[in-house]
């Protein structure tokens, strides 16, 4: 299963849609994408993980790295995730306290922080 990455603007936010498997092999592509987006001035990022099939600690690390990057520009990085198996990974590692996690993209877009 390949990793798919697509981004688009939604008002002043940038939605990055991630699909497939984010693991030690594919996570560098996600890291590159986040670095590229921040480099282009996208500082309000919503990572939509609705279509993620698998996520490991490398993927979590990349998301934490992305959060640090946008924060250094006073930006934000929130997540859309409604799958229990993925949410469980965030809970076990305590990262539910680090990322704003929303059930749906609509909810994430309505959150004005």
């Amino acid at each position: 299963m390949e990793l798919t990455l697509n981004h688009r603007k939604e008002g002043d936010r940038t939605v990055l849609e991630v699909g497939g498997e984010v693991d030690v092999y594919t996570a560098p592509k996600l890291r590159e994408k986040l670095v590229e987006l921040v480099g282009e001035g996208h500082y309000q990022i919503i990572v939509d993980m609705t279509k993620v099939e698998f996520l490991d600690s490398t993927g979590l690390g990349v998301l934490v790295g992305g959060l640090k990057r946008v924060r250094s520009h006073d930006g934000s990085l929130s997540l859309v995730c409604n799958q229990e198996r993925i949410l469980k990974i965030f809970r076990i590692t305590g990262l539910t306290k680090v990322f704003p996690i929303h059930d749906s993209l609509d909810e994430a877009l309505q959150d004005t922080e």
Binding site: V24, Y25, D56, S57, R85, I89, T93
Partner: protein, 143 residues
Amino acid sequence: MMPDVELLVPPGAQYVGLARLVVTAAARQAGMTNDRLEDLKIAVSEATANAIQAHQRTGDDGPVQLQFGPTGNGHFGVTIADAGLPPEGSAPGAVGDRVEGGLSLTLIRGLADVVDVAGGSGTSVHMRFIVGGSPARRVVEDP
């Protein structure tokens, strides 16, 4: 009791996905339920990735070894062994913004029912999962 299956995995990140598929298929065949298969899949992936990275750090071209199978007491066991060096992050005074190492072990410990980590010339991680149990039911075992 059936003998374990052995799988030798070359030390490349591209093989982690294959390793988790093979182990998950064996556990499914052993009757593991879907929820637990998800736990197993992540824990195996983490431990295999760590083992592969240990070989890469050491410059060891040899494969990492996975041994797995039903343990006969309602558990499914997986042992993942490498011959490499432990991560730099575990050394005192190590710096860097990579947080994966710590998260990885947290995940393994949070997902498997029993975890034993043994050091030596390399690292060996043994995990057990209750085949039919819910993830919330933990077997408490003192080290």
